[in-house]
């Protein structure tokens, strides 16, 4: 499967047609109601497809469990952060930990150090190499810049790498030519933000944009009403320059951020808050070579710092280079390429944890090849493998085989067989609790990769132009999952194994031009056990805390011209250990396009249930209650 590219771009704002009275009259009536034969080519090019009625996703052809969160869906849901946008994906588990942190996973193993999900922003891997997971309080973008978010649950295929065991989240931002000026203000009972974006043209038919964002969140409370010290402030700014012709060309971009949470006072000691900061810089070039094949080369630099005097304070610098070549050869579509990544980190000890050694340098190399073969009668076979080398376990092989059958454009069946690997990270081998001996936990010098063999069966259908759905059944055979031992000097080992299986399903139905229903469901069963010979005192529950099922139901309405309403009901079943009760909450977002330049939104989240927790153990965990917010977007 190819690396997805940016979707089609909207008219750059400096080319937008002016509003003659006649055109305005034409533009305001929905396309379906007009007589188009009277229009000229230019006028036909200017008719706005009514956005509620727009068929949201073309029937995706990808033989994987892929859910695409569109920019429109993000905007209409009132999402204010990446995790809130990810709530829209029915194949993800999103659990909020406190005002700023989330645990996000697919197909299980969700916790704050969840390590089986690969997350990328514009092709830059954002998981921290020292624990192979994502710190969601350090990942943010201007949500209005997002073109789409692709969420693949399960191993993504040979084009993605290690850590894509349970899924891949690919956050794709629009090119600079597609975004114009924006002023956005969010005011709410629990958080506030302001953002500014501006852009323009560059010589040689380039475009640029820059944005700045400021955000502030109030502290959350425990069930007993005790305030938690997670009140936070954060700023981020970024820029992007593109010289693109269609999908091809050069993009250079970067972001910088800094955030802080409230000081934690323990008696006379001030342990400070959690300070986060980072900078990244990326360049990417895509072009067509003679013969029609496509080449993409990308390089990025990412420097991340986290200061937490209680846990530990890592800082790391990553340099990454990769190249991918895509060519068509007869019935074959071949993608191949490779990459090199280097990281240098320093993990300073906190009160609870340390890493030994404190500093490390690591390198990863990878090579991959994938062939998508079009056989007769709508059959497609995709076979590929990735070879990845890491400093701990050497070469790992990740083969993947997918078969898809599309008897017509309306139906598709697909099946896949893959081997996916979660390579060791510093956390597995070098963690020490406490930082100085005698240790309760002493890392795992022999810790090796966790391995999953995955079988999936999927089906997509579009029985009519108003109804579409997708189903995936999966089974993961897990070997060598991380396990512990009885303290003292407990060593981290690979002695948990077992199976997990489940179902992911979603559908969209648009019975009326102004009403669309979206629904999603996922079910997960796990059967994991500590292997004989292990003295692990805790067992598989240490690997993650997962609900056996979740569902969501969303209604997207257009009650009147220029008004939109999005109402979503979400249910998450009870989490086993630590026990978290089930919850069902309602979110709604009402938007009004007062003028073509000004949009106002009023919304509420976490309604219906009262206050609920989403993770961790009582009594110290955060609970989240009903909140209200208003948003203003001005696009001159």
């Amino acid at each position: 499967m190819r690396q997805p590219t940016d979707e089609d771009r909207p008219c750059p704002i400096h080319r937008r047609a002016g509003g003659a009275a006649v055109l305005l009259a034409l533009l305001s009536a929905p396309a379906a109601a007009q007589d188009l034969s009277e229009l000229s080519l230019e006028q036909l090019s200017n008719i706005e497809i009514s956005s509620v009625s727009r068929r949201r996703e073309k029937l995706a052809q990808v033989p994987a469990s892929l859910y695409v969160i569109s920019a429109d869906a993000i905007r209409r849901s009132g999402a204010r952060s990446l995790p809130e946008a990810l709530l829209l994906a029915p194949n993800l588990q999103v659990a909020r930990l406190n005002a700023n942190q989330y645990a996000i996973s697919a197909r299980g193993f969700n916790d704050s150090v969840g390590n089986k999900l690969l997350v990328l922003i514009d092709g830059r891997t954002v998981y921290a190499p020292y624990f192979s997971g994502v710190q969601w309080d350090q990942q943010d973008v201007l949500l209005d810049d997002i073109a789409r978010i692709e969420v693949i649950s399960g191993p993504g295929g040979s084009v993605w790498g290690t850590n894509a065991v349970n899924g891949v989240i690919n956050i794709i931002r629009r090119p600079a030519a597609e975004t114009g000026s924006l002023l956005r203000v969010d005011a709410g009972t629990d958080e506030r933000a302001a953002a500014l974006r501006h852009g323009g043209t560059l010589p040689l038919q380039g475009h640029w944009r820059a944005y700045a964002k400021l955000q502030q969140r109030d502290a959350t409370e425990t069930e007993a009403g005790v305030a938690i010290t997670d009140k936070s402030r954060r700023w981020q700014l970024g820029w992007r320059a593109d010289w693109l012709n269609g999908d091809d060309g050069l993009t250079v971009q970067g972001d910088v951020y800094r955030g802080d949470t409230a000081d934690r006072i323990n008696g006379a000691r001030n342990l400070g808050g959690v300070g986060t900061s980072g900078e990244n810089l990326m360049a990417r070039w895509t072009g067509r070579l003679d013969g029609g094949s496509r080449l993409r080369v990308q390089a990025y630099y990412d420097h991340v710092r986290r200061e937490d005097a209680i846990l530990y304070s890592p800082r790391f610098t990553v340099l990454d280079l990769e190249a991918q070549h895509s060519l068509a050869w007869g019935a074959h579509n071949i993608d191949w390429g490779g990459g090199w990544r280097s990281s240098r980190d320093h993990v300073a000890p906190g009160l609870l944890f340390g890493f030994t050694p404190e500093r490390a340098r690591q390198q990863w190399h990878n090579l991959f090849v994938q062939d998508e073969l079009h056989l007769a009668d709508g059959w497609r076979l995709t076979a590929g493998t990735k070879f990845e080398h890491n400093d701990y376990t050497g070469w790992e092989t990740l083969p993947s085989l997918r078969l898809a059958w599309s008897p017509s454009a309306r139906w598709q069946w697909w099946a896949s067989l893959s081997r996916a690997v979660r390579a060791p990270a510093r956390l597995d081998r070098d963690l020490r609790l406490p930082p100085k001996p005698p240790f309760i936990i002493a890392g795992g010098p022999d810790f090796v990769s966790e391995v999953a063999r995955v079988v999936e069966l999927g089906h997509r259908g579009q029985p009519s132009s108003t109804l579409s759905y997708a189903l995936t059944l999966y089974h993961h055979d897990w070997q060598r999952l991380r396990s512990g031992q009885l303290p003292p000097n407990a060593v981290v080992q690979n002695m948990i194994a077992g199976n997990s299986w489940g179902l992911e399903a979603w559908g969209h139905w648009q019975p009326l031009p102004w009403l669309r229903w979206s629904t999603g469901y996922n079910r997960l069963q796990q059967d994991l056990a500590v292997q004989p010979g292990s003295r692990d005192p805790v067992g598989p529950s240490a690997l993650g805390n997962d609900p056996p099922q979740q569902w969501q139901l969303r209604a997207t309405l257009q009650p009147a011209d220029r008004h939109e309403l999005d109402v979503a009901l979400r249910h998450v079943a009870a989490l086993p250990k630590p026990a978290v009760p089930a919850y069902t909450v309602l979110d709604f977002s009402y938007g009004w396009h007062a003028t073509p330049q000004l949009a106002l939104t009023l919304g509420g989240r976490n309604l219906l249930h009262g206050r609920h927790a989403e993770a961790n153990a009582a009594p110290g965990r955060s609970v989240f209650g009903p909140e209200a917010y208003a948003q203003l977007r001005w696009t001159p």
């Binding site: 089609d8 909207p10 008219c11 396309a31 497809i49 454009a409 132009s465």
Partner: protein, 162 residues
């Protein structure tokens, strides 16, 4: 074949209707090579491959209208059967067809996929509007001449290789 009249109304905010209207309008801005259209009163044949919705919309759109003073026929086409009588072929998402002199191929964008190499015109949705790219390579291969007016309204014109 079941009645292929108007597809469900407002199924996609008018996107298919707009594309159908474009398909009809394009024919006024394109010159086919000599002889490709057949006798002076032979019908102009448009094929639709991979979309019953488009077939329905296009059939409605061309009613009572002519292309270059000829009556218009719309046919639903299967990928595996090449129809030599077509003058314009619309390829829905994911469909492909081989280039042929005198055949104007119009495709539509699947996210992330490049236009089929043989396309002459390629629809994409840009900023909530239906736009189209022109591929001069495809036009050259098919022996078609495109009016500069068409090129000026296009979203992007992909120059012929070399």
């Amino acid at each position: 074949m079941a009645d292929m009249g108007r597809a469900q109304p407002d199924d996609d905010g008018g996107e298919v209707r707009i594309k159908a209207e474009f398909l009809y309008k394009f024919t006024a801005y394109v010159d086919w090579p000599d002889g490709a259209l057949g006798a002076a009163d032979a019908p102009f044949v448009i094929g639709v491959q991979g979309s019953e919705t488009m077939f329905g919309e296009l059939s409605q759109a061309v009613q009572g209208r002519t292309v270059q003073a000829r009556p218009v026929q719309v046919r639903l086409v299967r990928a595996t059967v090449a129809d030599p009588g077509l003058h314009l072929l619309f390829l829905a998402h994911g469909e492909t067809a081989s280039a042929r002199r005198g055949l104007m191929l119009v495709s539509e964008a699947a996210p992330g996929e490049p236009p089929p190499r043989a396309s002459v015109i390629h629809f994409l949705v840009v900023g909530g509007r239906v736009r189209f790219d022109v591929l001069l390579d495809g036009a050259e291969r098919a022996g078609l001449k495109l009016s500069s007016r068409l090129l000026s309204v296009a979203h992007k014109v992909h120059a012929a290789a070399r």
